[in-house]
Amino acid sequence: MAAMTHTETDGKQGLLPAIPAGLRAAAPVTILLVLGFLAPLLTVAAYAFATPRSFDVFRSFTLANFSAIFDPSNTVWMSFAWSLAYASATVVLLAAIAYPIAYGLNRMFGKWSGLVGVLFVFPLFVSENVRLYGWVLFFIKNGVLDGGLKWLGFSGGPEVLYTPGIILFGMIYVYLPFMLFPMSLGIAMIPRDLVDAARDLGASRFMIWREVELPLAMPGILIGMLLTFVLGAGAIAEAKILGGQSVIPIAQDIEVAFTYAQNWPLGSALALLLVAIVSGLALYVLSKLDLDRILGKR
């Protein structure tokens, strides 16, 4: 019996010479992880092609959900447009805001840079919703800002709560760390020698930034941009809590489809489209990126 088992094992080894033992040993966990990652995505994808307002997943196939989305009378494109516009605006503004901070963390704050870095990480320990409700109390009528200004004898604070503008503020606030740290990593990769050499060769401060620092920090900057864009496109809490739903982002349409409308197939189709748009853009950006450089394998 023991001998037979042994022979069988040998036979298997002969059949699978190319797979290293380590990989074979890791196979169960790998399969579990791949399944855990793919199964929910595949289910969503399958639901997107199921009969509208049904639970006939894997049993029906129809394009009705997509034709409903692309129907000219359907205004859901507005939600896509708002989400992508907010995500783009967040990326552009955050790039401009985070760059000086990232530069400071690497080059100027010296021994304080650790503390400053921690201060930017610290809010991540508190739930996003709690922080946003905190901002509501800050901006609300007779709240911290309005009440404080009135107490000081001014006429009161600006009426910014529940407007589209405050949503952008909320997104910039929430996603700042996601732009800052990859960007900081990018700037940290600029060799000091190159900057010194450029200066010795007579380059102006602006030229050094444009020709040396920016291209070398670009991988980090792009990763930060990618991360904030992906997160921003799926943002919902800022529009709900700070914006008082003055704008409906696509994530909210997906949520309504899964809850009040109980149209899981439609919600899945919307989610699939969002994934396609965002991952299409992400893949495009990644194709322009040299990952080896980011990982320092030059």
Partner: protein, 379 residues
């Protein structure tokens, strides 16, 4: 004596590794005796309600709260009848949807009907929403209820004016930018029909849908904010808004209990639902048609009928609500004056009398689509 070699030691370990999960599976199977899963609106999932039951029964009780009925019912439809033992949703679903679809099973009538005798007068057996369509089966137990129309700050709009004007307040151009809308989209559909002067609980004509869409657009354009009930209460307190729909004792009671009795749930004097302008809800808790239904489901339903537990349910975390068991003097006397004020006990009976009971909209899907489109025009 059998000699244990390293090899058969390994074999034994291997066998144990296989048998282990199976053994625990049988244990889990048997443990349905001491396990209870509840799908409910918030309140029943609070530790104050569950912990005494857990310790007295030595049971593992899991309760998940959701904030709309359709999601809970579709969880059962999607195959979760094997998981849940009790489902707690609003009045029409047990009788009109879950029982016909075989998602719930009837309660032993003789055991549970006597509980209705001590409830408030309108709940006397056979209580319509607790019964099957043919009136034969008892489908669930009633507990929390309340009127649910809109909420005003009575410092800005008096109770009398609000009741007299009713839903027309939301047609008043001078109040544009001064009201909020709660994000419970199903109830907003009912309310927008009411603002348009149309009975929501019937089939609607194209003409009526047109009026609905126009009203929805106007309501959302004029709304200062759309948000959850905590945000809306906060906005009322701070003065950002003067009133909000959808709201009632359920949504405003926490603010009233916090010392803002000027915020008040209003039920219009009249309206298009056979003369009624308000809408009310009554929760019905039913046993799920689970093939392995936990025996604790029945025990829990009996447990929450107890006067003290009923009082705890009424004032569980989140929202505060009247309960049908207040008809029993032993339960009623547990409510303090402040608690009765928080749930607007003084006008509860008349508010409920002026409210139609929440029902299922035959053309809800179309109305929701129109309303979602109207919402998008805000930005």
């Amino acid at each position: 004596m059998m000699k244990i070699s390293r090899r058969n030691m390994m074999q034994m370990m291997g066998a144990a590794a296989f048998a282990g999960p199976l053994a625990s599976a049988t244990r889990a199977f048997a443990a349905r005796e001491k396990e209870l899963n509840i799908l409910c609106w918030e309140g029943y999932n609070s530790a104050e309600v569950l912990d005494p039951f857990r310790s007295s029964q030595g049971a593992r009780v899991k309760a998940e709260s959701l904030t709309n009925d359709p999601t809970m019912i579709n969880r059962l439809r999607a195959g979760e009848t094997r998981i849940w033992d009790l489902i707690n949703v609003n009045n029409p679903w047990a009788r009109k949807v879950m029982a016909p679809a075989g998602l719930i099973k009837p309660l032993p009538r003789a055991e549970f009907e006597p509980y209705f005798d001590t409830m408030l007068p309108e709940f006397k057996a056979p209580y319509r929403w607790a019964m099957s369509d043919d009136g034969k089966d008892l489908l669930g137990m009633a507990q929390r209820f309340g009127p649910y129309s809109f909420v005003v700050n009575t410092d800005k709009i008096s109770k009398a004016t609000a009741e007299e004007q009713g839903w027309d307040l939301f047609n008043d151009a001078s109040l544009a930018g001064k009201y909020g809308v709660q994000e419970s989209d199903d109830w907003n559909v009912f309310n927008i029909f009411l603002v348009a002067g149309i009975n929501p609980f019937k089939e609607h004509t194209e003409e009526e849908f047109k009026a609905f869409a126009e009203t929805a657009e106007k309501i959302f354009k004029g709304a200062k904010m759309v948000g959850d009930m905590a945000s809306l209460n906060q906005a009322l307190v701070s003065g950002e808004i003067d009133l909000y729909m959808t709201g009632g004792t359920y949504s405003v009671s926490p603010a009233r209990a916090d010392g803002y009795p000027n915020l008040r749930a209003i039920t219009p004097l009249k309206g298009p639902i056979d003369g009624k302008g308000g809408i009310s809800w009554i929760e019905i808790t039913s046993t799920v048609n689970n093939p392995e239904l936990s025996p604790l489901a029945i025990e829990f339903l009996k447990y929450v009928q107890d006067p003290e537990v009923s009082h705890t349910v009424a004032f569980a975390e989140g929202t505060f609500n009247p309960v049908s068991q207040m008809g029993d003097p032993k339960c009623f006397e547990l409510f303090t004056k402040e608690e009765l004020e928080a749930i607007q006990w003084d006008t509860l009976e008349e508010d409920m009398a002026r409210s139609a009971e929440y029902d299922i909209l035959p053309d809800y899907d179309k109305a929701l689509e129109l309303m979602t489109a109207a919402k998008r025009l805000r930005g």
